[in-house]
């Protein structure tokens, strides 16, 4: 995907000819004036707080009184804290549960909706619709669908003689409920990215495989999937980055409960900051999560040469 392509090297421009110095001056002023409106906010609201977070993470601080230097104390405490492990465990459960579900479903949909079918664009539109919906709406609608007592899902299950589970009210079913709702929302995203990839596979390659007598499975495994690998790579990288930062839907669906059964890392960061006033620990935890995400992303980028076409 284009966004992941790092720096474009076509940055050199034709040399100016006449009035070089005066134009240079005016160019310089223009450059500063044009860049400042974006550079200042990015520096002030992204880069500076990013570094500030690292600094805060080395202190004990309740957001009000003076900061107290504790070195890596927050980090060692967090690593030893069973709550941190539980939060990472739930987050990992979400990632491992949601991503394969959405990926397989999205791939199947993309393959199916790439064929010439009646009403194809309408079908694509319907499958994509949840993507534009707010996570809070998704969470609340599913909280209602999965209401253990009067929800429609358990109602339908009862009609066929199945006693539905307690869903988000049951510690064992809280994470699966969140995964189900999230998968519904993310499916269309994977589908759209993979469809774009499928459409860029040249017709003559497919025809050549047909002429060579390759069956549908063979064509899928030897031609379609390898040529789709850049989009698959993109989807996996983005899904993992977003998955580890799961928060909105958890907050609105279970609030981390019941009994902490769905407490995820970002929810823990939020609680540490605004419920327990432990800003130092919160900053340390957010950096821990960031490092985990960064390492996973870098590992994938490093590993992509092995399997991504044209990487």
């Amino acid at each position: 995907m284009t966004v992941l392509t790092p720096l474009d090297t076509r940055l050199a421009a034709p040399p100016t000819t006449t009035g070089r110095r005066r134009r240079g001056w005016r160019n310089g002023l223009t450059i500063v004036a044009f860049l400042a409106p974006s550079a200042i906010p990015l520096a002030a609201f992204v880069l500076y707080p990013m570094i500030q977070a690292a600094w805060i993470s080395l202190h004990r601080w309740n957001l009000i009184s003076a900061m107290q230097w504790v070195g890596f104390g927050n980090y060692t405490k967090l690593v030893a804290d069973p709550k941190t492990r539980a939060a990472f465990g739930h987050t990992l459960f979400y990632v491992v549960g949601e991503i394969p579900l959405v990926f397989v479903g999205g791939l199947a949909l993309a393959l199916a909706l790439n064929a010439r079918l009646k009403g194809r664009s309408l079908l694509r539109g319907v499958y994509f619709l949840p993507v534009v919906t707010s996570w809070i709406v998704v969470a609340l609608v599913w909280r209602w669908l999965l209401n253990p007592a009067v929800g429609v899902v358990n109602h339908v299950l009862a009609l066929v003689g199945i006693q539905g589970p307690g869903w988000w009210t049951d510690p064992r079913w809280a994470m699966p409920s969140i995964i189900l709702a999230s998968a519904w929302k993310d499916l269309g995203f994977v589908m759209v990215i993979l469809l774009a990839g499928l459409q860029s596979i040249p017709e003559d390659v497919k025809e050549a495989a047909l002429i060579d007598g390759a069956g549908p499975w063979r064509r899928l495994l030897s031609i379609t999937l390898p040529l789709l690998s850049p989009q698959i790579f993109f989807v996996v990288v983005i899904s993992l980055i977003n998955g580890f930062q799961v928060f909105d839907q958890v907050y609105a669906m279970t609030g981390g409960g019941p009994a902490g059964a769905s407490q995820v890392v970002v929810q823990q960061v939020y609680d540490l900051t605004f419920r327990y006033s432990q800003a130092g620990s919160a900053a340390a935890l957010s950096w821990l999560l960031f490092v985990v995400i960064l390492v996973i992303t870098l590992l994938q980028t490093w590993g992509q040469r092995r399997w991504v076409h044209d990487a």
Binding site: P130, I136, W184, F247
Partner: protein
Amino acid sequence: MRSRTGVGRWVLWAVLVLGALVMLFPFVWTLVTSISTGAGLDATPSLVPQHPSFGAYLELFRRTSFGRVVLNSAIIAVGTVALQILTSALAAYVFSRLPFRGRGVVFGVYLATMMVPMQVLLVPLFVEMKSLGLIDSYLGVILPGMASAFGVFLLRQAMSTVPRELDEAARLDGAGHLRIFGQVVMPLVTPAVATLGVFSFMNSWNAFLWPLVILRSPQLKTLPLALAALQGQYTTRWDVVMAGSVVTILPMLAVYVFAQKYVIQSVAGSGLK
């Protein structure tokens, strides 16, 4: 395509239609619940409400300040979209047209800011906003999102395709950079601007974590915040909660229906939530 002819193709189509109905059902159920007064009190509402009413919507706008909430969301979204387009376009003009030493590095730093997750910024940005006195204000939500590295990237890609000959022609006519930017380049990259506009609107409209941190008073809350709060207030009145959901979905739905191409481009291009 032996396997997909005739029956196979028909079965595939039937499965896809069935799947689409399943995907659509939560939306239908939301709408049905919102017009079934008292839904959720004791029984599952029926798919076709026997006495449909807009009672839940009336309750929503009379008893809670939901009208104000819609306005808050609109103000913040419009402000964010306008600022992001302006700041991104100006920077994109430089990155596509005005070379300077170290430009590649500066552009790299811009792109790097896309990797920084919101949750890392949570504590320090909150402190920063507090010292600027912007807690519980529109500006506190809008300012941190006024520049977008993704926007700069997107518009730079579009602007690099605008032929330089057009700049030269305008320059010979005596136009400066501001005029070339506004009257030559910008009109030619409107599709990319539309994509960025949709992307930025969607993100702002659906944003949750940062507004949750910064907005405290009920009169300033945005739709997702008010919706999450509504749930605590009307624990068993699902008709009211679903009415709030419908109000939140509708504007996004309208954008999607009328600008489907740009919505899909913005989502496909960014991969952000």
